[in-house]
Symmetry: C2
Subunit: 247 residues, 2 copies
């Protein structure tokens, strides 16, 4: 890329700017996002549910049964949900592509006016963008790509993305969801198990929140705190509601 | 908009193309997306959890306690999760804006080369995009906006969005989650309540799936079928696992 070649000759701090810049594109990856979605919810909801049931003095066996049912349901709901979301995103792209194609054929002047509009928004004059509009009109495929990206802001989706996304979210949810349940497997008295579960899970949330912040380019310590806080609030609410309701 | 003015003089079918076109921008709204996220999960997970616990011959009281704990935990986790996601999206935009600003000041030639690159991808020649690049260099604010949108594909986020998103998702999750639990409130025997819950919830999933398809511009009947299938699979898995585990 011309930009990068030029950058090589820059002094360190300017080079750093550009490195950080390209780095960001890597860290904000879709797989990382899917893992985060799955683990956040997995660590939080089964944890809170287990704590809530313990508050309603259920046995560890019931807590575990409910927890496993929740993890299975949540993984399937999030996984298949993620799959269909990614798939309908791809369908949406196809439909819009077809529609833009039809418009370029049916109403080329209108589409050309839309290109002009897009560039005019940036204070570019007709005599400055004119050649660009004409160049696109001479090259329908490029014109179509331009409209998809700059008018509709749509990127061509990866066909395998839907399945990968589903599996990533589901597995991440299961991995996250099993952590708070482990203590209930070994301690039959839920009132005792919940204490260990709370300690273990809040610790896991801290570490996960830190990693989440690190990989998404947000402040890791703040992310660790926020993620843990959500888990604590959710489980406290579940605990309180279950107690109040069951009493 | 110039495009629209021109469109008025078009024959019906071409006008229709453009109407559908602008229509899509309305239907794919972020609030609709948040409602869909909340209701889909709300109708699916508490439903499957309740079915699962009934499979482990728990009483309606335990099923209801677990269901309420799950709905509270899920609403908080999704709501606060949505809030932080929207907030970090806004922070991300701010950071990128600052970074682009610094780059435009520190390495203007590199940034100008990036503009050229973006336009060159569409087969536009240097002599065609040259005037556009120069126009942007003369207008740093417009240049910055251009880079944010066309290089990074980032839209300026709405500041109130984070809170609205959180509340929309949480309320939608609660509304969806209460539906499958209602039968357990009136029928003490979970083995009987689960039957009504399954019927009521699958019916609700059909209607919701249809509406989801309608509002997101996907085939409504297919969406109704897919959405209901997810709920059925999730609850069957939860039911089976809970039974297997508890037996």
């Amino acid at each position: 890329m011309g930009g990068q070649e030029q950058a090589i000759s820059l002094e360190p701090e300017k080079q750093k700017l550009l490195n950080e810049h390209s780095e960001k594109h890597f860290t904000a990856g879709e797989i990382v996002r899917d893992i985060i979605i799955g683990v956040s919810d997995g660590l939080t909801v089964p944890f809170a549910l287990a704590a809530g049931l313990s508050g309603a003095n259920a046995t560890s066996s019931i807590v575990l049964t409910a927890g496993i049912a929740e993890v299975a349901a949540g993984a399937i709901s999030m996984g298949l949900g993620g799959y269909l979301a990614a798939k309908s995103e791809a369908d949406h792209y196809k439909r819009e592509l077809k529609r833009e194609q039809d418009e370029i054929i049916a109403v080329p002047d209108t589409e050309a006016a839309e290109v002009a509009e897009i560039l005019a928004q940036y204070g570019i004059e007709a005599h400055e963008y004119g050649p660009v509009v004409n160049a696109l009109r001479k090259n329908p495929q490029a014109w179509l790509d331009f409209m998809m990206k700059f008018e509709l802001g749509l990127e061509k989706p990866d066909p395998r993305r839907a399945l990968h996304s589903a599996m990533t979210i589901a597995i991440a949810y299961i991995l996250g969801g099993v952590v708070p349940l482990i203590p209930y497997m070994f301690i039959p008295n839920a009132a005792e198990a919940v204490v260990i579960s709370v300690v273990v899970t809040l610790f896991a949330l801290l570490i996960f929140g830190y990693a989440k912040g690190y990989f998404t380019g947000n402040r890791p310590f703040r992310s660790a705190f926020e993620t843990t806080l959500i888990g604590a609030i959710a489980s406290a609410a579940a605990f309180g509601l279950a107690k109040a309701f069951h009493a």
